[in-house]
Subunit: 328 residues, 2 copies
Amino acid sequence: MSRPTIAAVAQAAGVSVASVSRVLNGLPATEEMAERVQRAVEQLGYVPDSRARSLKVGRTFQLTLAVADVGNPVYVTMMRAVEEVVSAAGYRLVVTTTGADVVDEVALVRGMARGYADGLLISPIRVDEDLVKSIRECGVPVVVAGNVPAKAGVDTVRANSPKGMLLAVDHLVAKGRTHIAFLNGPADTVPGTARAKGFADALKAHDLQPAGETEAADFTFAAGRAVGGEVLRSQPDAVICANDLLAVGLMHELVGAGLRVPEDVAVVGMDDSELAEQSFPPLTSVNLGSAERGRRAAELLLARIEDNDRRPRRIVVQPSLSVRRSTP
Amino acid sequence: MSRPTIAAVAQAAGVSVASVSRVLNGLPATEEMAERVQRAVEQLGYVPDSRARSLKVGRTFQLTLAVADVGNPVYVTMMRAVEEVVSAAGYRLVVTTTGADVVDEVALVRGMARGYADGLLISPIRVDEDLVKSIRECGVPVVVAGNVPAKAGVDTVRANSPKGMLLAVDHLVAKGRTHIAFLNGPADTVPGTARAKGFADALKAHDLQPAGETEAADFTFAAGRAVGGEVLRSQPDAVICANDLLAVGLMHELVGAGLRVPEDVAVVGMDDSELAEQSFPPLTSVNLGSAERGRRAAELLLARIEDNDRRPRRIVVQPSLSVRRSTP
DNA sequence: TTGTAGGCGTTATCAG
DNA sequence: CTGATAACGCCTACAA
């Protein structure tokens, strides 16, 4: 026995399907009509099928946010900002995980195709031709929080991580640290490449040589710990990490090795996520504007849903530095 | 100009809509037929409408997980476990946020009604009659990760937090701590009530008087910090916290007050989330089986989708204690 | 105010 | 193997 449809309700109430639909959607109807319909609905436990409805009206009022790793607190910040904007606009937000693999991302975008949501906000960690292609062919408005080639012709909101890197190095140098190492995530990712280049440029701007450069297997706490020893080999007096999770992982290794933060080694994270505040010592972190990026990206998405012919915008959000106790 | 439909593709390819559908779904077709269809699809940039499809086939192959706060790392653990199970079964998982308010939860369940997903897994933080009612009327299989009355007749997977609380107290007492305080979240929540009772019972079992009991405004880091001073007023030698976020918040206040963890005050969290491992010192935490709860709940959901007439099951997952350095 | 009927885009059945 | 056609469940002119 299947679920009741509007037809069943109409029959039970002894009225037409149109009347049921009207009552349910709050259109004018007799007191008595409304009464009968309501009763029938209650009795049968009728619940409208939203896909049939949206097939008809053309919208789902759902938006999807796709992130690589729900365990990364930077996405929490972004998610909160996005949620706020879209719910104010009357949409529901659903979040889905892509995994770090570009193949998964492509599959997701493909699968998302027209229907489940009115728009997609994706923050890809690896980008290739296929992904760009699938975004264009996806059939639903897409905004990318991250960096894709301008020729992709898609709305993007991205961070300025080289600038952020410079803020971090400026700060460390001002505090007298000059033997600075860099703990990166995978270099074959979009943020990985950008941050590596940013680090090199920032050091150059100060006429400094890098103390060392290490690549972790992932942008995770565990990966940060795993390469902690390697980072320390060059005996840096400061380490900049490509994100907060790596930084916290590293700090655990530092402490384990009997070093003090920040006295012996200063540590700087990136993202300025909730974890930076929660960590001990609280982590100095480059705020790459996750909240603002989320907000602007959401606004872009709403605007594109409104008018799919507007020309793509590329927004860059400027960073700032949140100084906490992990640096002197 | 609207998106191309299957009819447009059929026309462009000079074949019937049925043939287009077949080719797209990999059903037998001539080499040449497939060729023509593919070409037309490419050319028009056709992308199938998934809601029309699911309207027809009756399934979306999407499952929804609803949690109160994406910033709470316990949900990350659960999410990962759920994701693993459902994706192995060929479903995509989407996550949505309810907020702490029961009204929001009800609205979500209502809105989720039949259509957007084939099933709903919800971890409610506050439960009332309305919520139970909306779950029953929701029209799609629902599994609750948490505690709802047995008479609700819904599949549930819940933790045994009194038992977990006992593990924590046992451990502290074994280490010679007897002046134990409790930092709870809001007492009008399901976990709040359960944990408060568990704490009282566990102390009674050891013939101990509570050093103090404090209620934070939320299950968050900030809320934990905010009431840190109050917790310390009774000068406890150990504090058990209702979750890891509260515990980490408290530890920051402890350190700020010049106390050492665990020498002066031992701290125990609950949930054994990723944060417990990441915090410093690493946090001893009651593992309430979030991963297993997620897994079992997902399995229950899949089973119910398969057969909606099976009788509701109520699973209880047993806790364990993860001892780390925040206790002696 | 209410009912009838057509169509949203797809898949599945059933002839050819 | 292919094509026409009837659903899927709902909304909305249009007609009564």
